[in-house]
């Protein structure tokens, strides 16, 4: 008979923020908290930008063409988290390759410093020629430790 645990919150006993889970191979364990994505967002980056669906985010800012800042609600513990930003099809610009590469601001579109803090990250989408372009449906995911 399968057992079902009904619970509202899981907290580690030894360390509140650390629970191990037996892996699929039934031998090693993995860490529940560290395996969870801590934030993600799907948004429309064209026209008036709009968040489609998200976890642990507070806002999306349109800085310029193809240039966005995603701000999260509960901060990351450090700036060394992993963040993936999806390259995105550019349905309207087939002649330019028809896709946009998602990346992060190295120096900002106007020479501003890199924005990757425990609270926010600034991302850009560019076409095959390196020009910034608005993206219709980018996806962004954060993995790492919450503060």
């Amino acid at each position: 008979m399968a057992s079902v645990l009904k619970v509202n919150t899981l907290t580690g006993v030894t360390t509140a923020g650390s629970i191990v889970v037996t892996g699929e191979g039934n031998s090693t364990t993995t860490n529940l908290q560290q395996g969870l994505a801590k934030a993600w967002m799907n948004f429309n980056g064209t026209g008036t930008v709009a968040i489609g669906d998200s976890l642990n985010t507070t806002s999306l800012t349109d800085n310029a063409t193809g240039d966005y800042t995603i701000t999260i609600a509960n901060d990351m513990a450090a700036t060394t988290y992993v963040c993936s930003y999806e390259s995105n099809p550019d349905n309207a610009n087939v002649a330019l390759g028809g896709w946009l590469m998602g990346t992060f601001c190295a120096s900002g579109s106007s020479g501003a410093p890199l924005t990757k803090t425990a609270t926010a990250i600034r991302s850009v989408t560019r076409d095959i020629q390196g020009s910034s372009r608005d993206a219709a449906q980018p996806g962004i995911i954060f993995h790492g430790d919450l503060a």
Partner: protein, 140 residues
């Protein structure tokens, strides 16, 4: 002393699909269900395409050169889920600058997502030996 819980299934008590997990810092909580990947696949998109490993995928369809459809076993709740696609060329026989991305004008629905292998230099679809797709979002 460590404590061990042996269980087959976790369900939220107040809301079946929502369980909070105390985060690494020991203060705030994050959401278990929303932090879990709801779909992922690694497939070979060359020749007769083949799924290498996957989670929550019922079918993988070859729509043409560099064009693929992954059908979910359990549908997403909406089409606002977040997707990541990565692709790589065909080893030593491949051509450089191939990428994986979402399919241009492709289906992005609650039941399936279309991915695309693309060669940037030639501006054309291309089969990728390694295609990887993962999805985060809400299940129906």
């Amino acid at each position: 002393m460590s404590s061990e819980l042996i269980v087959d299934e976790l369900t939220g008590r107040a809301s079946a699909g929502s369980i909070a997990v105390t985060a690494e810092g020991g203060t705030v909580t994050t959401n278990l269900q929303q932090g879990l990947a709801k779909f992922w696949v690694h497939f070979n998109g060359t020749g007769t395409i083949a799924t290498q490993d996957s989670f929550n995928q019922s079918a993988l369809t070859d729509n043409g050169t560099g064009e693929y459809t992954s059908t979910f076993s359990n549908n997403m709740n909406n089409n606002s889920y977040s997707t990541q696609v990565t692709g790589a060329e065909s080893g030593s026989e491949g051509i450089s600058n191939q990428i994986g991305t979402l399919q241009r004008n492709g289906d992005y629905s609650t039941s399936q997502v279309e991915s695309n292998g693309f060669h940037a230099n030639s501006n054309a679809d291309a089969d990728n030996q390694r295609m990887m797709v993962n999805v985060l979002g809400d299940l129906a």
